[in-house]
């Protein structure tokens, strides 16, 4: 195996591509958990949005804008229904979310059969994917530009959205209120914040992010729909949100980590390692990352206590 620059740059660009759907979903999860709602339905929202964007793409003969809008709208509707069940009807967020996830698997397969008359995989030459962006420095610095090969504008948008979510949550009044709801719902309510309304709107808007992630899956690096297209990315996003402590910047770092795991995993597949081992890498990494982050947090806490004790000793 020769490690050359082409090899490394290919890994970097595929890291970015693998990272963006996870990033978008974990931002959605971060927004929800900052508002005090546990959202596990990213997987289902992504899958449905991926499917409906392909459906609209097929029937409008490759209208990309309409397909993106269809994906986002689908995901928003599904998130809205879920929010209604969780917030209004007091359903268990885990069960309702998991029900949406399994249901969306059923719905996509069912509708694929109804619309296209087949099960499993749908691919058609008339489908048009998202436009790939060539970086402006591709002529002057071709080596650097090859790291950004094959990225679409939604991939770039995902990183801008990470900053936008950060600004929204931490620098605006509404974001401040949302975080207050997450910290103490009753206190926020006593100050006159319409808690349910804010939670409902946050969940529905988090659907936009999941919708974009779904669009990326079905129209990003490949343009097709395959059954169970999200393959656990929604759950990985949940962990990324967990690792990043629901802070948009931390979440972005965590999703980058999972992106690296995924791309390294798929590159190792070309070597002698078996596909079953490389395929398990992201999931094993998720487990290990939760362990390491917990040890780190614990050590940090102990350090703080030690320092406080020392400070007391020196005082006395």
């Amino acid at each position: 195996m020769i490690i050359s620059w082409t090899y490394i740059s290919a890994i970097i660009s595929s890291t970015f591509r693998a990272c963006s759907p996870i990033l978008l979903c974990s931002l959605a999860a971060a927004m929800c958990s900052k508002t005090g709602v546990f959202n596990v339905a990213m997987e289902g929202c992504m899958m449905l949005s991926a499917f409906f964007s392909i459906v609209v793409n097929y029937y409008t003969h490759g209208n990309v804008i309409l397909s993106i809008l269809a994906g986002i709208l689908t995901s928003m509707i599904v998130s809205g229904i879920l929010a209604f069940f969780i917030i209004k009807l007091k359903a268990s967020p885990v069960i309702a979310g998991m029900a949406i996830n399994t249901m969306s698997n059923g719905i996509t397969i069912y509708l694929m059969y109804v619309f296209f008359g087949r099960k499993g995989l749908f691919q058609d030459p008339s489908l048009v994917g998202l436009t790939k962006v060539t970086p402006f420095f591709s002529k002057s610095l071709p080596e650097l530009a090859s790291c950004f090969y094959g990225l679409t504008y939604v991939d770039y948008l995902s990183w801008i959205l990470a900053i936008a979510v950060y600004v929204f949550l931490y620098k605006t009044v509404i974001g401040y209120r949302l975080r207050a709801i997450g910290i103490n719902k009753e206190a926020a309510r006593s100050l006159g914040t319409p808690v349910e309304k804010y939670q409902f709107l946050t969940m529905t808007c988090s659907g936009i992010l999941c919708g974009l992630a779904g669009v990326l899956l079905s129209m990003g690096s490949v343009t097709l729909f395959i059954q169970n297209i999200s393959s656990g990315k929604g759950y990985i996003a949940m962990t990324a949100n967990n690792l990043g402590a629901s802070h948009p910047i931390g979440v972005a770092a965590a999703s980058l980590f999972f992106g690296i795991c995924q791309s390294v995993g798929s590159f190792l597949q070309q070597t002698s390692l078996k596909g079953q081992i490389t395929g398990a890498i992201p999931y094993v990494a998720t487990i290990l990352a939760s362990i390491v982050s917990s040890i780190y947090v614990k050590a940090k806490k102990e350090n703080k206590i030690k320092q406080a004790l020392k400070a007391q000793e020196t005082k006395s």
């Binding site: 359903a91 268990s92 069960i95 249901m103 059923g106 487990i287």
Partner: protein, 352 residues
């Protein structure tokens, strides 16, 4: 009389949810241009109403009952574990590896295989419980990740270590066929095997364990209110390990029965693709984590799955319709409309 009344009122809401699920299924069938009445009728007839279909339903229900009991035990004790699938895979692959290699009379091999599978499931469950408790991670996420790991692990073993060299179909990814040491059919005409009887025994045993022993009391209290349980001197960490180990052992046993009773070997993806785990969780939810109720809900869910496969053949309706119906049912059950509804009734009574 009072008991009957209470039973009826606790059944009313799940039955309403089932009815709504079937109505939504009918609407979906109608939207694709098929006759909804004959679709739903075909679903029910294909699931329950002939001897053959009832037998297939009971065969299909067997792994779902194991998953359902496993889930009811864990969720009823307050641990949202999704790990039944991974534990079942571990049980199944263990059974497929151990059974053809053990010497001795067939009945002994079957018993030993089942025990091995139970240990495998319990240990695998303990791993996820340990990671979750020790490192303060969401049990839900950890168990989901362990499911993927288990599936890849089993797939690796079947592909590269224990692949059946004599398979007629060279593309089939499966282990060697188990001869002799299997769970026989109850009636030779039908596919239902003695795994179903084991499932019934497990339901009764676990029901006894939860309702009549101090361990079950501790587990249930931990589920109802963990803070109060800890205050009352119930060590929750130890109870958690025990509960999750037992639920893992039950899921592992389910995997063994699936291998020894229906497939006689491990076939790649044989546990994940039918979605046994989620059906089991739905079944336990429909009965509010009651073991006896879980048994009947599992049989119901298995029935609509079998019926769904039959209408796919006869009416050309994709069998995934049952996944949708099942999802609708679990969403409705988990929503607390029931409470508002009963409150409304009470308010009416008091107004009168």
């Amino acid at each position: 009389m009072n008991k009957v009344k209470r039973l009826l009122s606790s059944l009313a809401y799940p039955l309403m949810a089932i009815l709504t699920g079937l109505i939504i299924g009918a609407i979906i069938i109608m939207s694709t241009g098929k006759n909804p009445v004959s679709g739903i009728w075909g679903l029910l007839k294909g699931g329950y109403l002939t001897g053959f279909s009832l037998a297939s339903t009971l065969t299909r229900a067997t792994p779902i009952i194991f998953c359902g009991v496993s889930a009811a035990l864990a969720w009823g004790s307050g641990y949202s574990s999704m790990g039944a699938q991974g534990q079942m895979i571990m049980g199944a692959i263990t059974a497929a590896i151990v059974a053809p290699r053990l010497p001795g009379p067939d009945w002994l091999v079957v018993i030993l295989t089942i025990l091995c599978s139970m240990v495998a499931g319990a240990l695998f469950s303990l791993c996820s419980a340990f990671v979750s408790a020790k490192f303060n991670a969401y049990l839900l996420i950890i168990t989901l990740m362990f499911n993927y790991v288990a599936n890849y692990f089993a797939s690796y073993l079947t592909n590269y270590v224990f692949l059946d060299p004599y398979a007629l179909d060279k593309l089939a990814i499966q282990t060697q066929k188990i001869e002799g040491s299997i769970l026989p059919r109850i009636l030779s005409k039908y596919t239902t095997h003695y795994g179903f009887v084991i499932a019934l025994a497990v339901v009764i045993l676990v029901n006894f364990l939860v309702k009549r022993t101090s361990f079950g009391y501790k587990a249930r209290m931990g589920g109802l209110n963990p803070h109060f349980a800890e205050y009352g001197g119930i060590k929750s960490r130890k109870t958690m390990y025990m509960v999750l180990m037992i639920s893992g052992a039950i899921a592992g046993l389910g995997g063994a029965c699936e291998v020894l009773g229906t497939k006689f070997r491990y076939v790649d993806e044989m546990i994940t693709s039918p979605g046994y785990s989620w059906s089991g969780i739905t079944a336990s939810l429909m009965s509010n984590y009651n073991m006896i109720g879980t048994l009947f809900s599992s049989i119901f869910l298995a029935g609509i799955t079998v019926g769904g496969a039959s209408i796919e053949l006869t009416m050309n309706i994709p069998s995934e319709i049952t996944q949708i119906i099942q999802g609708v049912i679990s969403m409705l059950i988990t929503a607390k409309i029931a409470i508002d509804w009963s409150k409304l009734n009470k308010r009416k009574e008091s107004a009168e």
